[in-house]
């Protein structure tokens, strides 16, 4: 039998032994402390990103309009592994309104599962982005509500949310000036990542202490293509002026690419959804043609 002193000694020994192991080895693999080179090579190696894309290549996009039955308008959007679902309802009366408002308001809620601390900031950003594109003057004293559920946040979640929300508005047949498209661009040193994944985002938000160029950061911008207007712009990090401007141009050109896709998708949806209306009109037209001939 061991006496108490021996047990105590054993525990002390064990503790000492444990103390000698760096605490990092107890951490799970994905949060382990890594050297900068390891971090970089994990994300970007030999001109290819971890998922095989080049730096200026977006991930594949999937859009489904009308994914929710209950909502007036809805859109499900996937960019790579990032998945968002957006529903739009309204216009309805603003609860607890204090005074008359000439312009309608857009109430935005972004949620993710599990709840993330950036949800509130995203809600705010989404509101800022959508407000200029929505025909607010048509709805004095009323509000529309946009709710976005981020099902999977694997980078560029805000950009996906903005694009999805704009498509959902169009699907709800609420008047908007233009379809809004949004893109995130990440910057790390002299590397520029379009549509970054969450790992790339983390890399872009960190910086290498000894590297000469300390440019790093993320830019999310949303853009109305036909009106040539930036409706939202959010940048964080540290950037030279010229680089910032160049990055903005790249972001805008990418927004235009997405715009073409969204337009096409929406057009397809309209054609199907308006089939009954168009069919009757076709019949009417042919009747008219018959009578004239």
């Amino acid at each position: 039998m061991l006496d108490s002193a021996a047990i105590e000694d054993f525990i002390l020994d064990q503790k000492k032994y444990e103390e000698n192991i760096p605490y990092e080895s107890f951490l799970p693999e994905n949060v382990k402390f890594k050297t900068y080179e390891a971090k970089l090579s994990e994300v970007y190696k030999d001109g290819k990103r971890a998922d095989g894309r080049t730096r200026d290549e977006s991930r594949k996009m999937y859009i489904k309009l009308g994914a929710l039955v209950e909502a007036r308008g809805s859109c499900y959007l996937e960019i790579g592994d990032t998945k968002v679902l957006c529903g739009v309802s309204g216009p309805r009366e603003i609860p607890y309104l204090q005074g008359y408002t000439e312009l309608g308001s857009v109430d935005c809620v972004v949620e993710s599962n599990p709840a993330s601390p950036s949800d509130k900031a995203y809600s705010d950003a989404l509101k800022r982005a959508l407000e200029p594109s929505f025909c607010r003057h048509e709805f004095p004293n009323l509000e529309i509500s946009v709710s976005v559920m981020i099902l999977d946040a694997s980078g560029s979640a805000l950009a996906a949310a903005i694009t999805a929300a704009s498509l959902a508005l169009a699907h709800a047949r609420l008047p908007i000036f233009d379809i809004l498209t949004s893109v995130t661009v990440g910057l790390h040193g002299d590397l520029l990542f379009i549509d970054p994944t969450d790992k790339e985002e983390a890399l872009c938000m960190s910086y290498e202490k000894n590297s000469a160029s300390q440019n790093h950061g993320l830019i999310t911008l949303s853009y109305m293509s036909t009106a040539d207007q930036i409706t939202h712009y959010y940048q964080n990090g540290e950037m030279d002026l010229q680089l910032l401007l160049d990055t903005m141009d790249i972001g805008i050109s990418r927004c235009k690419d997405i715009y073409a896709l969204c337009q096409q998708r929406l057009m397809d949806e309209v054609k199907i959804s308006m089939k009954t209306v168009t069919d009757t009109q076709n019949v009417e037209d042919s009747m008219k043609n018959l009578s004239t001939s």
Partner: protein
Amino acid sequence: MINFCVPGTRLCLAGDTHIPGTGTYERKGYIYSSLAGIVKITEKEKVFVVEVQTDKGQNIVPNPGDVVTAEVSVITQRYARCAIKCIRDTPLEKPLRALINREEVQATNKDQIEIHKSFRPGDIILARVLPIKELQSYQLTTAENELGVAIAYSDADAQMVPISWTEMQCPVTYNKEYRKVARVLPESDKVDKEK
């Protein structure tokens, strides 16, 4: 020929001959679409109105001057609360709250108006939307001959018949009740008036 459009599609030049209608807006000399749907061009007095027709959704809001159909929900000494059910000829999916102030019930004898002698909860009324400035809900007026109570039910659940400008009678019990009665126009006349 059917033209589909999505928000932001440039439809045509805006000018004296083409003006933007519902679902469109004008920017820098062009008419753009703000909705996804079918482009519809109708001629109205030598002017082409460019509109976008959609299959679903409703974007109509009461504008000052519009005639609306509303149901009275609450009456107090100073005002009557009601819910707008229909704007012009378009029924609403969701009712909107509105208010009729005592002074706005009739055009004459404004100081002698009594709300309870004009409306009762449950009445269906015709009213015109007033311009809103400060208040949160829509303001309505019934100070016209054509506006006021159109349909009212008596305690016996029978639809009452107007017998004068201020009275309606129940066809079952022959009870008379006070109302601000509307002169409901035949369908053809109403269209003329709105023009």
